[in-house]
């Protein structure tokens, strides 16, 4: 590895200033630059996050009292449907795609994605899909839940439901275009020196994610098109009134939508695997175990879908099969969690915003993982299915997991994307409020579910009011926590300290170019002079008189 080091020296040429820079207009146009597209994805995703979050706050306000007094029950059902759909399809999935777009070519030393135009098309399907979905509020938003089970979805408002179907089809297609790009780019466009076992773990996790997208999304598409026929043309694929079978829809829906959970969490598993070693100054513990466990999760994720249907139309033997496969997923997930813990153990931890969000991710996702194993056990799942225990569980996985991972990723790569550092104080306040608000909101929901509160209800038994009140207060803290975040991002964008090339002294390739990276990504063919996580070794050059740190500092000073 060190032998290639000398070639690295002249990497920062003096004519750096001559590179063309991105104009702000580029970010609003049909750009084929993966970095522009990545930022377009990220900003769009956060725009929808604020809408989805506002809907959640309306729901929590309604649930502070047992009676449906703040909003009408019908509107409540529209809120819960839209909240779920927006958060999943317009926030977390696009946010994962944002980092994949931004980082994959940089991490593997490529100039751009394999299919830049397809990439731009994929992004530009999201705003129309999102606006279409929002438009349903003006003529009766869908109200059958984000699962849209027939027959309910067939009888509760035609236009809203059809708009929902169309926008999911658009967003799903966009997600498939993205996945085609990720797989091709990762497999074919790595720089010559980088074999598949020396690419960053984020790329492994995107490989696993993209596989799931490509296998799962078409099935969802098929289900939704058939549902659309039932809705508009009066066919009876799923409508029992004409001899159709609503359970078949559930199978097709969950065949995509369980893997979708991994589509939402795997990119952030990857991000965490990048963030922890950098800020702990230690190699990632068990590179291959983490890489292969992503693939294992991805494969197993395809054969567990019916655990969402244990109390539905699933015969006994099938329940047992899906219980076994679901339980097994705990093994690769456990490997990851233990490996991450071992990565920070004995390191030299910088407790900056990115790192504390990553630790917050570990501690919250753990709870979601443990309750997930419990839910795999059929006899227990039968009790808590469709209750607040489930609501608590998936928020611990998707909020405690994906969202904490997402914020960690934002704080970690913000200097790369903008060339400026974030404000650490505001970042830590953001973390503290998010973490506290999150746990106050969702921890009591476990108890609510066990005690007998079902989900998706605007009116509930008065005995549950105290705990619901607690949840509502927590959700307000969570809402307030976005303010330090927004202020931080805007302030740092203009006033933040200049970041330089590699403020974290990280080893992956995206940090070896300018911040923000020049349009062609790298000055010249990048050189792989260290593995992605070779911290603690290789600190001496071959002559033995210059530290890598010194050299990196020199490099960033020049940059």
């Amino acid at each position: 590895m060190s032998t290639t080091l000398e070639r690295n020296a002249p990497i920062a040429p003096p004519e750096y200033e001559q590179h063309p820079k991105r104009k702000w207009q580029d970010y609003f146009g049909f750009s084929t630059d993966h970095k522009v597209i990545g930022i377009q994805y990220l900003v769009t995703a956060f725009f929808f996050y604020f809408i989805g979050g506002a809907l959640a706050e309306v729901m929590r306000t309604e649930l502070s009292t047992p009676d449906p007094d703040f909003v009408q029950p019908e509107f409540y059902n529209q809120l819960l449907t839209m909240h779920g759909t927006i958060m999943l399809f317009l926030w977390i999935i696009p946010a994962g795609a944002a980092f994949a777009n931004y980082l994959i070519p940089l991490m593997i030393g490529a100039e751009d994605m394999a299919f830049p135009r397809l990439n731009a098309v994929a992004f530009w399907m999201i705003p129309p899909g999102g606006i279409l979905l929002m438009s349903s509020f003006f003529n009766g938003a869908p109200q059958a839940g984000w699962t849209s089970y027939p027959p309910l979805s067939l009888i509760s408002g035609k236009s809203g439901e059809e708009i929902w179907i169309l926008s999911i089809l658009i967003l799903g297609t966009s997600s498939m275009f993205g996945a085609i790009n990720f797989v091709t780019t990762i497999l074919l466009m790595r720089m010559p020196d980088m074999d598949i076992h020396s690419m960053p773990l984020f790329c492994w996790s995107m490989l696993a994610t993209s596989g799931l997208i490509l296998l799962g999304t078409p099935v969802l598409g098929a289900a939704l098109i058939l549902l659309s026929f039932d809705l508009l043309a009066g066919t009876a694929f799923f409508n029992p009134a004409g001899g159709g079978d609503p359970i078949v829809y559930q199978h097709m829906f969950w065949f995509y939508s369980h893997p979708a959970v991994y589509i939402m969490i795997l990119p952030f598993f990857g991000a965490i695997s990048e963030i922890l070693p950098v800020h702990a100054r230690k190699p990632v513990f068990g590179y291959r175990a983490i890489a292969y466990s992503s693939l294992a999760i991805s494969f197993l994720g395809l054969i567990v879908w019916a655990h969402h249907m244990f109390s539905s139309g699933t015969p006994g033997w099938l329940r047992m099969f899906f219980m076994a496969t679901t339980m097994i997923i705990a093994v690769p997930t456990g490997i990851k969690v233990f490996s991450w813990c071992a990565t920070i153990w004995g390191g030299k931890l910088s407790l900056n915003s990115a790192f504390i969000f990553a630790v917050g991710f570990l501690s919250s996702f753990l709870i979601g993982g443990l309750s997930g194993v419990m839910l795999a056990a059929v006899p227990f799942d039968i009790h808590v299915h469709d209750t607040y225990f489930i609501v608590a569980h998936f928020h611990y996985v998707l909020f405690g997991g994906s969202v904490f991972g997402l914020f960690a990723a934002v704080y970690h790569w913000f200097p790369k994307m903008t060339g400026r550092m974030v404000n650490e104080t505001l970042g830590r306040i953001h973390f503290a409020m998010t973490f506290i608000g999150f746990n106050i909101t969702f921890l009591p929901m476990h108890q609510l579910g066990l005690q007998g509160m079902n989900r998706r209800i605007a009116l509930y038994d008065p005995q549950f009011q105290t705990l619901n009140m607690v949840c509502t207060i927590g959700s307000y803290i969570l809402a307030l926590s976005t303010f330090p975040f927004i202020i931080n991002i805007i302030w740092s964008l203009y006033k933040g300290e200049k970041a330089g090339r590699n403020p974290w002294r990280a080893l992956t390739l995206e940090w070896q170019t300018a911040s923000p990276p020049i349009i062609e990504n790298f000055e010249e063919e990048p050189v792989l002079w260290a593995g992605p996580y070779d911290y603690g070794i290789d600190t001496e050059t071959i002559d033995g008189n210059e530290d890598v740190e010194d050299m990196l500092a020199a490099v960033s000073a020049e940059g």
Binding site: P240, I247, S312, G316, W345, S363, I367, V373, D386, I457
Partner: protein, 308 residues
């Protein structure tokens, strides 16, 4: 740590009363899982908290940590331990599930969807009542007393009410009354959309699906009044779709059946308007009735049972 886990696993106080022996089994499974989960939780959170405190970077120290890239024996251990845990959990859950009657061969075979209109015909709901066959759900426990004939009740879920029919006596009710210590077999279907029949105190739940029959068998062992909750989104007033399950002594149950049988007969001779005593369900639903679009038929179905 082990002690805390063991203690918390048994004393979390998170579950409501268990009103059947199967519910007790489920609780034991949950307590067992809670014990393991608490242990793992303390272990991992402990490592995190310890690391964050102990391994902070000293100010001004820009060197790296030790270059440990992995440890194969350790990795094998933490792959093997979860594997063993989930293996044990799977076997334990399988055992409990079997004890609950989930693998009753008669229940496990699903005949597939029936034509939706067919559920109005009683023939289809109980293809063969004596063998409690058909459909999805939980059957009789293998070790249940074979001698006792289960009490059959037909359940119909409609937006937003439950209707219970007792084929033995012809009683139709909006509440469900059952005698204690006798197995109850529910044959369930839905009239419009999917609902789910949930008895939190019995830890059982089964979706109720239009065009199909699902069933649940349980044996209550504690006299009392328990909520019946719909647990599948079924429309705007999904949250209001609940009723009560009364577990009564054999005498009280017989009394209730008789009163309601008479009431039904009375009803035949009177017009509905002559019987103005409102039911608790009707009272509950009345304010919402207009919004919910509950037809007068639906309310009338509930009424005869509430004359007491």
């Amino acid at each position: 740590m082990t002690l805390i886990s063991l203690w918390y696993g048994q004393n979390h106080g998170l579950l409501p009363t268990a009103a059947s022996s199967d519910a007790g089994d489920v609780d034991q499974l949950f307590n067992f899982m809670m014990t393991i989960a608490t242990g793992l939780f303390l272990l991992v959170e402990g490592v995190l908290v310890y690391s964050v405190i102990k391994f902070r970077r000293v100010k001004g120290d820009f060197t790296d940590g030790p270059p440990i890239e992995g440890n194969v024996p350790l990795e094998i251990v933490w792959t093997a331990i979860p594997t063993v845990i989930v293996f044990i959990l799977s076997i334990y859950s399988f055992e409990i599930y079997n004890r609950m009657g989930g693998l009753d061969p008669m229940t496990a075979g699903d005949p597939g969807p029936q034509m939706a209109h067919a559920h109005h015909h009683s023939q289809l709901v109980a293809l063969d009542p004596n063998r409690q066959n058909i459909a999805l759900g939980l059957g009789a426990s293998p070790d249940s007393k074979q001698g006792i004939n289960p009490l059959e009740i037909k359940v119909n879920g409609i937006q937003y009410a439950w209707v219970f029919t007792y084929p033995e006596t012809g009683v139709i009710s909006g509440e469900i009354h059952v005698p204690v210590n006798r197995p109850v077999a529910l044959n369930m279907t839905a009239g419009d959309v999917i609902h789910a029949f949930w008895l939190p105190e019995f830890r059982i739940k089964q979706d109720v699906i239009p065009g199909r029959v699902t069933n649940l068998v349980f044996t209550p062992n504690q006299i009392g009044q328990y909520p019946v909750v719909c647990a599948e989104l079924c429309g705007a007033y999904h949250g209001g779709m609940k009723t009560q399950l009364y577990v009564q002594s054999e005498e009280d149950y017989q009394k209730w059946i008789q009163e309601n049988t008479f009431a039904m007969n009375d009803e035949d001779n009177q017009s509905v308007a002559m019987n103005p005593i409102p039911s608790s369900d009707a009272e509950f639903l009345a304010p919402y009735a207009k919004d919910m679009g509950v037809s007068s038929d639906t309310l009338a179905q509930l009424k005869p049972t509430e004359n007491k």
